[in-house]
């Protein structure tokens, strides 16, 4: 499903690569957590898998294509088989919740009959059935996050990339969402999820890939959030760390 080998991403103007010589494989049907400190490269890795960014070095095979070399015109077809939840939601402010979800089906040419059936179903699934006609700025942060999740899963993707999908949710709602993700995963969708939520990672006991400054420092099956490695990220935050002492 996903095969990443020796991938490095160096942003222009950045002092060090955001992702630095990373290699791993993910099987069809896996549920993988990406963890690591703020700025460790989780979002960058997910964007590379979506070909929103292109790797500086290495190969990224997703759904049978090498994203580093695939021509632009083949990308849309590839993306139709992926779902994605962004850290910043990326909802359309001038469309209602329903339209936001429907939009992603319309642009890939789904019939309106399909849309009018699938969208209410998925909104009910994430607990937003009653807010279908609301606009994003009329929703709480957690509600917006659930709309983004609904949009990502409405087309039953083969691969779901989720960037902190519970970052703005209270523990109870988070638990509901994770249960939903588990169900989607059981139905066959591969899930890669970046998260800071200790509780969820520890409870689910799935594969955990931990990044530190763009390097994989841990890749354990059935693991938890915490690690025994010393926290070298502190060198990045001298001032704040001093304040703490």
């Amino acid at each position: 499903m996903i095969s990443i080998s020796n991938v490095t991403k160096h942003h222009k103007g950045a002092t060090r690569p955001a992702v630095d010589g990373v290699s791993f494989e993910i099987e069809r049907g896996d549920f993988v957590f990406l963890v690591g400190a703020s700025g460790s490269g989780k979002s960058t890795l997910l964007r590379l898998m979506l070909r929103e960014e292109i790797a500086s070095k290495g190969d990224i095979f997703v759904l049978g294509q090498n994203l580093v070399t695939v021509p632009s015109r083949k990308v849309p077809v590839l993306r139709r088989k992926m779902g994605v939840v962004f850290q910043d939601f990326r909802l359309l402010p001038n469309k209602t919740v329903f339209q936001n979800v429907a939009f992603s089906l319309e642009v890939i040419g789904k019939s309106s009959a399909f849309i009018s059936e699938a969208v209410p179903e998925v909104l009910a699934l994430v607990g937003l059935g009653e807010k279908a006609e609301r606009y994003p700025n009329e929703l709480s942060g957690g509600e917006q996050q659930r709309v983004a999740l609904a949009r990502a899963i409405v087309n039953k993707p083969d691969l779901l990339l989720a960037d902190e999908p519970t970052g703005n949710l209270d523990p109870a709602t988070s638990a509901d969402i994770v249960a939903l993700l588990e169900k989607i995963n059981q139905a066959g969708t591969t899930i890669v999820m970046a998260t800071h939520d200790v509780g969820i990672v520890d409870r689910l006991k799935r594969r955990v890939i931990e990044l530190r400054q763009g390097v994989i420092v841990r890749d354990d099956k059935k693991s938890g959030y915490e690690t025994a490695l010393p926290n070298t990220d502190q060198i990045e935050m001298p001032a704040a760390s001093e304040e703490q002492k």
Binding site: S72, V75, V77, R79
Partner: protein, 304 residues
């Protein structure tokens, strides 16, 4: 490809940018009307040129008793003079240039004068003897009329040789200047129309860059993303072009044919057929420019 969806998106975008669209329509309208007017003026010049050049002749005025004495020391031209000129025009040297010629005597000149200045006070002061007898020479190639002029200028008994084309060239140069002014204004306005269209589309794309970004991320094809924006510019430009075409037709119908043609019945003016020939050109120009301007403007939002 669901057209309903595309049209809904265009409709939304149009209604959001309505005042922008109105100004595109107005500017396209005005600039293409100027282009059309310039085209009409050129057509008019062309028409007058073929009409008048066709009739353009060289006039060889013979002396009369009242001619100024420096040109005509012997007074009224004798029959000899007439025979000489007639022979020269028929001779082999001038034959390649002369298509035909005819002689106008005093009475014929008087009749023509009376006809031309009918109702004018001058008509009654003139006697046949005062008017020149004239050889009217129709030349084969108007560009080479100078040969005839040179052949007879200064010949005894000839008062003056005049190429009628020189009158016309003056009129044409005025019309030409008007046409150039119209083209100049049209060019400035077309430039602002193109800028306006590309800016509108770019701003429209900019204000919808989230939408475009999301479209790209959910796997919409470039064509699908691009279409609404290009159509937006094209729709506005089409309305402007149609208005401009209407204006050009109206100018011909009401101003040229309805006003000028009745005032100056002897001049041949551009007709509706010329205007109708221009309209598809205006439409193509307007739509083409809009498609190009929007296509270029949207391009940089389409990198995947």
């Amino acid at each position: 490809m669901k057209l309903g969806f595309v049209f809904r998106e265009i409709g939304q975008s149009l209604s959001r940018n309505v005042s922008m669209i109105v100004s595109i329509v107005l500017v396209t309208f005005l600039s293409l009307t100027f282009v059309g007017t310039a085209g009409l003026l050129q057509a008019q010049i062309g028409q007058m040129k073929t009409y008048w050049y066709d009739r353009a002749q060289v006039a060889v005025y013979l002396c009369t008793d009242t001619s100024p004495s420096d040109a005509c020391p012997q007074g009224e031209a004798s029959a000899d003079v007439k025979a000489t000129v007639d022979a020269a025009l028929k001779a082999a040297t001038l034959q390649p240039f002369v298509e035909k010629f005819y002689f106008e005597d005093h009475q014929a000149a008087y009749d023509k004068f009376q006809e031309q200045f009918k109702g004018n006070a001058v008509a009654k002061y003139v006697t046949p003897q005062q008017l020149n007898e004239t050889f009217w020479v129709k030349v084969k190639d108007p560009e080479k009329s100078a040969v005839i002029v040179e052949s007879f200028t200064g010949v005894a008994g000839v008062e003056e040789v005049r190429d009628q084309r020189s009158y016309l060239d003056q009129i044409f140069s005025i019309l030409n200047a008007a046409s150039i002014a119209a083209v100049g204004i049209a060019a400035i306005m077309l430039a602002s129309a193109v800028l306006l269209i590309s800016t509108t589309i770019r701003l429209s794309a900019f204000s919808r860059r989230r939408e475009i970004g999301i479209m790209r991320l959910v796997g919409a094809s470039n064509f699908y993303i691009q279409l609404p924006f290009i159509l937006e510019g094209v729709v506005a430009a089409t309305i402007g072009s149609l208005l401009a075409s209407g204006a050009v037709v109206a100018i011909v119908q009401f101003f040229v044919q309805g006003y000028l043609a009745t005032r100056l019945p002897l001049t041949s003016f551009v007709g509706l057929d010329d205007a109708l020939l221009l309209t598809p050109l205006l439409l193509v120009a307007g739509i083409g420019l809009a498609a190009l301007a929007s296509g270029v403007a949207i391009r940089r939002y389409l990198k995947i």
